[in-house]
């Protein structure tokens, strides 16, 4: 199983660079998708909940280290959301889960939870409303993150057609 970690960690580096340099350019009123979460969701659906939870923890730790944000915030949110993604894991439906539009639905649900948890634990300002946290820090980034999962679905769908 430990070999399975190498690929996502290697993919993490270019994705993290994109997240910090290119993704801010496509932010819509400070709402941004999370590329690293798409990676975590994809590998969790391939290798299961146990693997995904550890992967979320490792990539969250690395992401926290290089982002300049609070150390532990992404670590916790990625761990928790990868665990949630793990509930959708089914070893008989790996192809379906990762190459169909069902993948986008999973990314949307768990990505929303990820954004919400991150915002909730890293925010110390009591002026930020709870519903604002759910909608603007949770659902909207979740939708945007799911949109970014679309290329993966299209690529794998085309591969399947061939």
């Amino acid at each position: 199983m430990s070999n399975h970690f190498i690929k996502p960690i290697l993919y993490f580096i270019p994705l993290a660079i994109l997240q910090f340099t290119v993704i801010p350019l496509i932010s819509i009123s400070n709402i941004v998708p999370n590329l690293v979460f798409v990676l975590i969701a994809f590998y969790t659906l391939r290798y299961g909940q146990f693997f995904g939870t550890i992967l979320g923890f490792i990539l969250g730790f690395l992401f926290d280290l290089i982002s300049g944000g609070l150390l532990g915030a992404f670590m916790f949110s990625f761990t928790l959301s990868a665990f949630l993604v793990g509930y959708f894991y089914n070893e008989n439906k790996i192809e379906f889960n990762t190459t169909s539009f069902f993948f986008l639905l999973i990314v949307f649900i768990c990505g929303s939870v990820n954004s919400f948890v991150y915002s909730a634990i890293s925010n110390t300002n009591t002026n930020v409303g709870f519903f604002s946290l759910i909608l603007e820090e949770g659902l909207l980034p979740g939708i945007y993150t799911a949109l970014l999962g679309l290329p993966i679905v299209i690529i794998y769908f085309k591969k399947g057609m061939q």
């Binding site: 580096i13 993290a16 660079i17 994109l18 910090f20 340099t21 290119v22 993704i23 801010p24 350019l25 932010s27 400070n30 709402i31 941004v32 909940q49 146990f50 939870t53 550890i54 923890f57 969250g60 730790f61 690395l62 280290l65 290089i66 982002s67 300049g68 944000g69 609070l70 150390l71 532990g72 915030a73 670590m75 916790f76 761990t79 928790l80 665990f83 793990g86 954004s115 991150y118 915002s119 634990i121 890293s122 925010n123 110390t124 300002n125 002026n127 930020v128 409303g129 604002s132 946290l133 603007e136 820090e137 980034p141």
Partner: protein, 275 residues
């Protein structure tokens, strides 16, 4: 017994793992200010920012930057100067000499580029390409030719982390220039707001907001923004004022660090409040 425990662990291994990793994450989260965590972060940040810098220079190659660095420095200096003159017009010279107004223009400006951005709805952070090699220190204000952007919260040898105005953990003492009404500016996830201003104070849409004389973190009279709207609370006793910042924080790629070294004791006290 051992077999039973093993079976339990095997059956619930995912939950045990989640609990364990969550506890570790939250422990690390609570020990952010410990020196070991800071050293680790500084090391990782400094190294990864190199990659980010290379990537952002490729990205900026495709973006047109009409202003030269010298012009931008001049612009920022003029912006501070204009704001200072505006204030001169509104106050008399006698009062000015009494409050011993500090001339913000005497501080040098250090130009810097944004290497990477952590954009979330409530946690705006930039990483810039200047660190303690350029004598950048924690707490220094960051601005551009239009107005205040944020402040330095972490410094490595060649890079620094800037906490922007769009970060719910940054509170700034500000004043409305026309009426000298003081308040605390913070970000509520949607707008920059100054809360709890008595309705008896004269506040008008379009009033300019600048850093306050009471702030020892920021020098006074750095332009922050203009009043966008004001709302009264239920009893009608207090205003909540929304501010539109002068600087377009979302699209910034070049900025300046105002090389201010505030009083060390006050600085330490206020930085403690920021933690």
């Amino acid at each position: 017994m051992l077999k039973f425990i093993r079976r339990i662990i095997y059956s619930y291994k995912e939950y045990i793992l989640l609990t364990l990793l969550s506890v570790i994450s939250l422990t690390i989260l609570s020990s952010n200010e410990k020196p070991q965590a800071k050293h680790l972060k500084t090391f990782a940040l400094g190294n990864f920012a190199l990659l980010n810098e290379a990537a952002s220079s490729i990205v900026s190659f495709f973006r047109t930057d009409a202003f030269s660095e010298e012009l931008r420095i001049e612009n920022a200096k003029l912006m501070l100067e204009v704001n200072r003159l505006r204030k001169y017009r509104m106050e008399n010279d006698e009062l000015r000499s009494m409050i011993a107004f500090k001339d913000t223009c005497k501080y040098p400006l250090i130009p810097a580029k944004v290497v990477s951005k952590l954009v979330t709805k409530i946690q705006g952070n930039f990483i810039i390409n200047k660190g303690f090699g350029e004598e950048i220190k924690k707490g220094m204000p960051v601005l551009n030719e239009k107005g205040l952007i944020g402040m330095i919260i972490d410094v490595t040898e060649n890079y620094s982390v800037v906490r922007t105005l769009y970060n719910s953990n940054l509170n700034i003492a500000v004043t409305l220039q026309r009426t000298n009404t003081d308040g605390i500016l913070s970000y509520d996830g949607n707008n920059l707001v100054i809360k709890d201003i008595p309705t008896t104070h004269d506040v008008q849409i379009g009033d300019r907001v600048e850093t306050s004389d009471f702030s020892s973190l920021f020098p006074p009279s750095i332009p922050v923004g203009v009043v966008l709207k004001k709302e009264s609370n239920v009893l009608g006793l207090l205003h909540s004022i929304s501010i539109q910042p002068f600087a377009d924080i979302g699209s910034i790629s070049n900025l300046f660090i105002l090389k201010v070294v505030p009083s060390k004791q006050i600085d330490q006290l206020e930085m403690n409040l920021l933690k």
